[in-house]
């Protein structure tokens, strides 16, 4: 148990408890409001008198909410798959294969991290509409899964993280594999990927959270509701006049749930990679 006679530790504990309370309070309040009646919620009670679990059912069955949630899941899963398919080979090549201009290309890509998203948003929109050059698979990618996902298939930051990890794999392994006649592809698939599972899981989680939170881009390219992700639908819910806050909070909570679930399962890896990244920079 906490040793309270250890006087010096009281202040650190106190600071931590206050901060933790502040960190978690908005989420707790979200839970508590989501269980209130509409009247209680608009009067901003602290706690509901009676737990209204019906709210969740009502949200879940209303206004295409299920469809939006599945949209979000599909979009995020497609982005994670796509980003892994492009990033793993690229990071492997940048870390282990020696080819001309390798470092120049790599640092050139790194510079693109400096570009603010808001600047790219507008040209992206024109590319997706097919205004700048003809697109494969159809004249325009507006209102489609392609438009929502493909722009996010390349992620320099994730390539960077993966490359750091791949670099640590000893070269002797590759030499031995080559003796046995393995190609780079086979070596990547049979040796490198199984060895790097922790980092791959972490970057998948990063990519999933980023995709799940994406908001400005879907808002821009979706003019019909068919592919609305939850973020956009909740945004339009907030903007409606006379919103029922209890339902809004229930909806928010349902849509945070997948992210929270993934986070709980991978939090140790997640913490590690954040702290490593902070130091290495």
């Amino acid at each position: 148990m906490i040793k309270f006679y250890h006087k010096e530790l009281i202040i650190p504990y106190f600071i931590l408890f206050v901060i933790l309370l502040l960190s978690i309070y908005p989420l707790l309040y979200m839970i508590s409001t989501s269980l209130m009646t509409a009247g209680e919620a608009s009067n901003q009670y602290m706690f509901p008198k009676k737990l209204m679990f019906e709210n969740y059912l009502e949200v879940w069955n209303s206004n295409n909410f299920q469809k939006y949630t599945f949209n979000s899941i599909i979009i995020s899963v497609v982005i994670v798959t796509g980003v892994l398919c492009t990033s793993i080979p690229a990071a492997y090549a940048f870390a282990k294969i020696d080819f001309p201009f390798r470092n120049i290309i790599f640092y050139g890509l790194l510079i693109s991290l400096m570009i603010p998203e808001i600047i790219s948003l507008l040209p992206h929109l024109l590319i997706i509409r097919g205004d700048i050059f003809p697109l494969p698979f159809g004249p325009s990618w507006m209102n489609s899964l392609k438009g929502l996902t493909i722009p996010f298939f390349g992620n320099v930051f994730l390539i960077f993280l993966l490359r750091q990890y791949f670099k640590k794999i000893p070269n002797e392994l590759w030499d031995a594999a080559r003796m046995d006649g393995a190609s780079h592809f086979l070596f990547l698939r049979k040796v490198v990927i199984p060895m790097s599972m922790p980092i791959i899981v972490t970057i998948s989680l990063f990519a999933f959270i980023l995709a799940w939170n994406s908001f400005a881009w879907p808002l821009l390219i979706l003019t019909k509701e068919d592919w609305f992700p939850v973020t956009v639908s909740i945004y339009s819910f907030i903007r409606e006049a006379g919103t029922n806050y209890n339902l809004l909070m229930a909806a928010s909570l349902i849509s945070i749930f997948p992210v929270l679930l993934l986070y709980f399962f991978t939090q140790r890896l997640f913490l590690e990679s954040i702290s490593n990244f902070g130091i290495k920079q």
Partner: protein
């Protein structure tokens, strides 16, 4: 032919492996900047119009040369820091070095002030104000985040029970999507007299506030003085969005700083303990100075990153807060989304890009020397 493939297998494999990522990053990451520049010199509403030259920039900045003067001012500001850090230990008489860098500092401030006031009087006031608002946002958010983060990291470093659990909870706000988080903040910082926060400050005898719906400046609310311009501070609505930023990122910085703490040699702490230093003394005399490079680095990168804050501000924006929450990203978004002025918005984007690059230069200048703990 087979010989060719085996001979160049590295090259071929290398390029094939990076090709998919390279194509997508090239098209969606790098190409847009150049295309944005191309758009910015055209009249462009939904479809491309005639060539305008720098007309868009003239509308935004008023006088383009004063913008470059402004950038020059920023660069001299960075230079004065560089000059001080480079030469303070190389000359015996520090005073002259100090004096000279002070002169540079004053020149840069005069330049910035002068060019800014010209731009303000001739350019797009809304856009320039939005730069000031994002400056407030970034400055206040990042200093609070890193400061609080440091405190938390230090507390967590004290070999407490349940450290893992604390860390896990600390990162919860960071992974909460901005739209949903913004929705709760909308409630907690509600304008109703009985909103959670208003009741809470009521306990201390303060009047209820309108929070996100209040466009009065902080200086007016706190000190009751009405001033205009830069020193008026952010509006209460913008301050509320700063609270959101702090809520969401403090844990993230705390985790990074905690990792930084663990590389400080522990014999330093033991020595301090043997000398009978208190925890607070070791914190201010050992921890903070040794962590200074990391703290500085986080402040600067965080400052640049928060210049791009967008999602939660868009969610929390209310009409009664007026333009005081229109930070630069919102302003740009508004121009091409609601007002369909594509060329103009692209030009605004390029201006933002230039400013961010100047900040990045400062980051490079300050962190040329690697971190070391000798």
């Amino acid at each position: 032919m087979k010989n060719f493939f085996t001979k160049y297998s590295n090259q071929i494999n290398g390029y094939i492996f990076i090709l998919p990522a390279f194509l997508i990053i090239g098209i969606f990451g790098i190409f847009p900047v150049f295309f944005g520049m191309y758009m910015s010199v055209h009249k462009w509403k939904v479809f491309k119009g005639r060539f305008l030259g720098f007309e868009n920039y003239q509308k935004i900045l008023g006088d383009i040369s004063s913008f470059w003067l402004f950038i020059l001012g920023l660069l001299i500001l960075i230079f004065s820091y560089w000059f001080w850090s480079e030469y303070k230990n190389k000359f015996k008489n520090k005073f002259y070095v100090f004096l000279l860098s002070l002169v540079f500092l004053i020149i840069s401030l005069i330049l910035i002030n002068y060019s800014w006031s010209i731009m303000m009087s001739t350019g797009d006031e809304d856009f320039l104000n939005s730069l000031i608002y994002i400056f407030y946002y970034s400055f206040f958010a990042i200093t609070t985040e890193v400061g609080l983060g440091l405190l938390i990291a230090y507390a967590l470093y004290q070999k407490l029970k349940g450290k893992q659990l604390f860390q896990m909870i600390l990162l919860l706000p960071y992974i909460t999507p901005a739209v949903m988080g913004g929705a709760v903040f909308f409630l907690i910082f509600g304008k109703a007299e009985n909103s959670i926060l208003n009741e809470f400050i009521g306990l201390f005898g303060y009047d209820p506030q309108m929070w996100l719906f209040d466009k009065r400046k902080l200086s007016e609310i706190l000190f009751g003085i009405k001033i205009d311009g830069f020193f008026a501070g952010p509006s209460l609505a913008l301050t509320t969005s700063i609270f959101y930023g702090v809520w969401s990122y403090t844990g993230y910085y705390a985790i990074i700083l905690l990792a930084g703490l663990s590389i400080i040699p522990s014999d330093l702490y033991e020595a301090a303990k043997a000398e009978g230093a208190s925890r607070w003394q070791t914190f201010t005399k050992i921890t903070v100075p040794l962590l200074m490079p990391i703290i500085f680095f986080l402040l600067l990168t965080g400052f640049i990153n928060s210049f791009q804050a967008f999602n939660h501000i868009l969610v929390m924006k209310t009409s009664s807060a007026g333009e005081t929450m229109d930070v630069v990203t919102i302003e740009i978004f508004d121009h091409f989304w609601d007002r369909v002025k594509f060329g103009y918005a692209a030009a605004e984007g390029v201006v933002l890009f230039i400013i961010l690059n100047v900040l990045a230069v400062s980051q490079y200048v300050i962190f040329r020397k690697r971190l070391n703990y000798d």
